[in-house]
């Protein structure tokens, strides 16, 4: 039907000239940012950002730097996968960072060893009877905690009608409280070897990539995905078409909580400790990744590949700043500006699309 001349008003339609997907724009931005750091590096540092410049190592690229970039974004990236789905429905989730902390504290308590260097572990949260448990237990506990927190978010939003911003803000404060209360502020440490394996090495990247692919397929090819987009696109229409909007929202927020639970597992395992203050501001970083990746805060538009690219941009910028030896203060200032810039860009795209229609 490519060449057919039809349609209302007898307009012609040229199928070969389709608009580029928005993800393409994000990918181009990623490349441009890398190029900027490469050029700045050559000029200011006399070093390459991307390429290997050391004599003693083979290879074209600076593999170590690339690994660090994806490693440092992958844990927040896992959260961003859930936040993406929430934003697609037109909602927001401010609670993920706190859920990570509370979940990590609780799960880690089920993953402690009984003996440290031959001495009894006196810091075990549940005493000596609840140590050296099979790793499946803390994993299940983590997933259950994350889901429970997400479920509460979802029920509040879907059935009381309060804005997602408020509901998840409440959860953000409460979950942080739970994290502190759990051990009266003490960190939980000394996990079993099998627990420590969950987040060791490049495992966080592996988990992130697998989950990204999984949720991309789910959003693209299942009824769940279609309804997620439909609700964000036009909630009233979704309701009139018979979609159970409230029930669907509960599911979306529960999945977001579940993913925060996964992030808690990976993070506490990687750090070999859980602290009440961990995951601070992760929710904002995750939202930033989604927004940079082209997920519209108004809902209905964006995709998981976009968020993954957004996470990469996020990682490249942080890594680039470190490479240029800029202070962490500047990093935060620029991070804030990028988030606002991405939202402005989205609004602008939206207006342009509206003007074209």
């Amino acid at each position: 039907m490519a060449e057919a001349t039809h349609g209302i008003g007898g307009l012609t339609f040229d199928a070969s000239k389709r608009n580029l997907p928005p993800e393409a724009g994000v990918a181009i931005a990623l490349v441009l940012i890398v190029v900027v750091f490469e050029v700045l590096g050559r000029i200011l540092m006399n070093d390459s950002f991307l390429f290997n410049t050391r004599e003693n190592i083979d290879g074209i690229f600076n593999v170590a730097r690339l690994q660090i970039i994806i490693l440092q974004v992958s844990i927040i990236g896992i959260i961003a996968l859930g936040v993406t789905q929430v934003i697609l429905t037109g909602g927001i989730d401010l609670s993920s960072g706190s859920i990570v902390a509370a979940t990590a504290m609780i799960a880690m308590s089920f993953a402690q060893v009984g003996e440290i260097n031959g001495m009894e572990n006196t810091r075990a949260v549940f005493g000596s009877g609840w140590v050296d448990l099979p790793v499946i237990l803390p994993v299940v506990v983590a997933l259950a905690c994350g889901m429970a927190a997400g479920l509460i978010n979802g029920l509040l939003i879907a059935y009381t009608g309060i804005p997602p911003f408020i509901a998840t803000l409440g959860m953000m404060v409460s979950a942080r409280g739970v994290a502190k209360w759990w051990t009266a502020g003490q960190p939980v440490s000394f996990p079993t070897e099998s627990y420590a394996a969950i987040g060791s090495g490049m495992m966080p990247v592996f988990v992130f990539v697998v989950l990204a692919i999984l949720f991309h397929l789910i959003l693209r090819y299942t009824v769940y995905g279609k309804h997620t987009y439909a609700i964000g696109s036009n909630e009233a229409a979704a309701r009139m078409s018979g979609i159970k909007v409230a029930r669907h929202k509960v599911l979306v927020y529960t999945i977001a909580g579940l993913l925060a639970g996964v992030a808690a597992l990976v993070l506490s395992s990687k750090n070999l400790t859980a602290q009440a203050g961990m995951g601070m501001m992760y929710e904002l970083d995750a939202i930033a990744m989604a927004v940079i990746g082209g997920i519209s805060l108004q809902g209905g538009r964006g995709s998981i590949p976009g968020t993954v690219l957004g996470a990469m941009i996020f990682g490249v910028i942080i890594s680039g700043f470190t490479f240029l030896r800029l202070d962490a203060y500047y990093q935060e200032m620029v991070k804030g500006a990028i988030i606002v810039g991405a939202v402005v860009l989205d609004q602008w795209r939206q207006r342009r699309a509206a003007a074209k229609a």
Binding site: M1, H6, G7, I8, L11, F13, A15, I218, Y221, T222, V223, Y224, G225, K226, H227, Y229, A230, G232, S233, N234, A236, A237, A238, R239, M240, S241, G242, I243, K244, H248, L251, G300, R301, A353, K356, A357
Partner: protein, 276 residues
């Protein structure tokens, strides 16, 4: 909850409609909807029989769309009774109404901007390759083919069904909404101002779709401000005024002038006089 309310009309607990239910497809008695202090719909009694095409007319704000939203359970009614397809119903939501066989073109069209034509046609009842609860796998190919068939059947032309609704003209969007009702087999079709945004050709097309429904004996409730269209297509005209039914006119016993005087309130039928 709703399913156990849907007692058979002859069941002991079901409220009995006054009079013979016979070949009535939909009947309402005393249907009422208040939005806070706004009495958008008051005591609306209405019925439509098999094969009948009934027009609802009335001024802006007369309560026509409100009436539709109560029947289709988009909103929960304040009061009144509804029978559909031989049983008393209290639908729990729009999905139940659709599944029971009521297809509706809503005045605001109820389309999702960022989705394409097949997605919109099948919104809320997607074709799936295999069932997995909410994670059932979508049958994109099947939906595309059914969409093309549906568009073909209705003569509606859309340049490219893979385009999102967002970029379509008002008329094209309306065509998508109409094609949606025509694609599914239904026991009752409701169209709320289906030709309001359409050009001459497209209006004729929609009117043809309506005539086809008539030939197939499928009942229709048509809400329209277009007198010629109503006189052309419908057997009966029910007039709403200020949230109440004020006239029920057989086409052969009335004319445009007469209908207008009911719409403006210059006349009221005797049986509705005390209510008004």
């Amino acid at each position: 909850m709703a399913s156990d309310m849907q007692t058979d009309i002859s069941g002991a607990n079901a409220p009995h409609p006054s009079g013979d239910i016979g070949d009535v497809v939909l009947r309402t008695e005393g249907l009422t909807k208040h939005y806070g202090g706004v009495h958008a719909l008051q005591d609306a009694s209405f019925e439509i029989r098999k094969g009948e095409h009934v027009a609802i007319m009335g001024d802006n704000g007369a309560g026509k769309s409100t009436f539709v939203r109560q029947i289709t359970a988009v909103e929960q009614r304040t009061g009144g009774k509804v029978w559909f397809d031989g049983r008393y119903v209290e639908f729990d939501g729009p999905l139940e109404a659709r599944e029971a066989g009521i297809e509706t073109v809503f005045q605001n069209l109820a389309l999702a901007d960022h989705l394409d034509v097949p997605d919109n046609l099948f919104l809320g009842r997607e074709k799936v390759l295999f069932k997995l609860g909410p994670f059932s796998i979508l049958d994109y190919k099947g939906m595309r083919e059914a969409t093309l068939a549906g568009l073909e059947k209705t003569g509606v032309k859309i340049p490219n069904i893979r385009n999102t609704i967002q970029h379509m003209s008002g008329g094209q969007r309306q065509c998508v909404a109409i094609a949606r009702t025509a694609t599914f087999h239904s026991k009752l079709t409701i169209m709320d101002e289906p030709t309001a945004a359409l050009g001459v050709q497209e209006t004729a097309q929609v009117e043809n779709i309506i005539r086809t429904l008539k030939e197939q004996g499928e009942p229709l409730i048509l809400i329209s401000h277009n007198m010629r269209q109503v006189m052309d297509l419908c057997d009966r005209i029910v007039v709403f005024r200020r949230g109440r039914v004020c006239a029920n006119l057989r086409k052969e016993e009335t004319d445009g002038q007469d209908v207008v005087s009911y719409i403006t309130g210059a006349k009221t039928q005797d049986q509705y006089a005390d209510a008004a």
